[in-house]
């Protein structure tokens, strides 16, 4: 297979397939009246932005950079009967939301009859082609998973996993964190 710049054609095709499926997953959630909350959701700005192109504007809410408040806000939407999709461009940024994730969204079913369901979307980055430095590159998925009792963590390593994972998250009664590894495709398939 011919190379495409610094990546193989296979890896670029895999990346395209990955984003195509993410876009389909967002469309599928939008058809179920989900509301998408986060940064670069209603406006361009991150690699994830293009995946919201087919989501109606009234279902996208650009939120201030206030990650902990954002997750609590989504928990409130869910308690009021809405279906929130809480978007963090990097798992490093999601660390700022751990108080609401660990102490509230995860624990509320353990101490009350409320069952808020939030679908959380985030991503693990690589240093290829741009190295964003040590505050952007980590994969904390296992550490976060280890702190959770009711919220589930799903790693999306390949494109084919995306739609079934989001369909399951939509059906499940509990909250789910779906973690993207799209940039790893470029790294691993060179």
């Amino acid at each position: 297979m011919a190379a495409c710049g610094r990546w193989s054609t296979n890896s670029v095709l895999a990346m395209n397939e990955y984003y195509k499926n993410l876009k389909l997953a967002m469309e599928m959630l939008a058809q179920h009246n989900a509301i998408f909350i986060g940064q670069a959701v209603a406006y361009p700005g991150t690699a994830q932005s293009v995946t919201f192109e087919n989501v109606p504007d009234h279902q996208k809410l650009e939120f201030p950079v206030a990650e902990n408040a954002q997750l609590g806000f989504c928990t409130g939407l869910a308690m009021a009967g809405l279906l929130p999709v809480c978007v963090y461009p990097r798992i490093n940024f999601m660390l700022e939301a751990l108080p609401q994730l660990i102490q509230h969204l995860d624990k509320i079913p353990l101490f009350s009859e409320f069952r808020p369901k939030v679908i959380i979307r985030t991503a693990v980055a690589t240093d290829n082609p741009l190295d964003p430095g040590p505050q952007h590159l980590n994969d904390y998925s296992d550490a976060i998973d280890a702190m959770l009792d009711t919220v589930k963590v799903v790693k999306l390593k390949e494109a084919y996993q995306i739609l079934p994972a989001y369909e399951k998250a939509l059906k499940d009664d509990w909250s789910t964190i779906l973690i993207e590894y799209s940039e790893k495709l470029l790294e691993e398939k060179k």
Partner: protein, 195 residues
């Protein structure tokens, strides 16, 4: 409920605790019964309440039957009394309810509801960053969030004014604010219990 009924409820819980019948922390309300009764005159059916670890009186005034509030307290949920039926939720974490209340307020506005969200905060919680974030968002987006600050001067045993460097440092332009003296300790009912 009357002030006398609220005070009697907590006296009953204190007696149960001091008798060793509640093997969990309890946080008794006291000293602001008249202010709370006045505030809840503005409460409408269908409104939401978000409360703190000291929530017993909020729960009773929001309409949860006293038998149910007591049942939850006896089961170890003094800090987290809640009711789906009554749109009532409380959290044991300082300021933890702020963004959740904000989200409910946004949802109510989107759904075209006339109802409001009542968010109760202690004075230390009102000083936190997330409380200010949520207050700013609610004001700028004209959300039906009403913030009530109950100022007893401290959080657990830490004095709010001393630590923040002011005698009274709370959120500007909150909807309701009152100072009061809590007649109970932070937790428990004032007696050492040998379980």
């Amino acid at each position: 409920m009357t002030p006398e009924e609220l005070i009697a409820f907590e006296a009953d819980i204190a007696a149960e605790y001091n008798a060793g019948k509640i093997r969990y922390p309890v946080h008794l309300s006291g000293g602001n019964e008249n202010q709370l009764i006045d505030i809840f005159k503005n409460f409408k059916k269908g409104d939401w309440v978000f409360s703190t670890w000291r929530n017993h009186w909020h729960a009773l005034l929001a309409g949860i039957p006293k038998e149910e509030v007591k049942r939850q307290i006896m089961a170890g949920r003094s800090m987290t009394v809640s009711s789906v039926e009554h749109n009532f939720f409380s959290s044991a974490i300082v300021a933890g309810c702020c963004p959740i209340a904000l989200g409910v307020a946004w949802a109510l506005k989107r759904q075209g509801s006339e109802n409001k969200v009542w968010l109760f905060l202690g004075d230390m919680a009102a000083c936190t960053g997330i409380a200010h974030e949520c207050r700013n968002y609610a004001v700028m987006h004209d959300l039906p969030l009403r913030i009530v600050i109950e100022d007893n001067g401290k959080s657990v045993c830490t004095y709010t004014g001393v630590t923040w460097g002011k005698s009274q440092y709370v959120m500007a332009n909150c909807d309701y604010y009152h100072r009061y003296v809590l007649p109970w300790p932070h937790a428990g009912a004032g007696q050492r219990i040998q379980f």
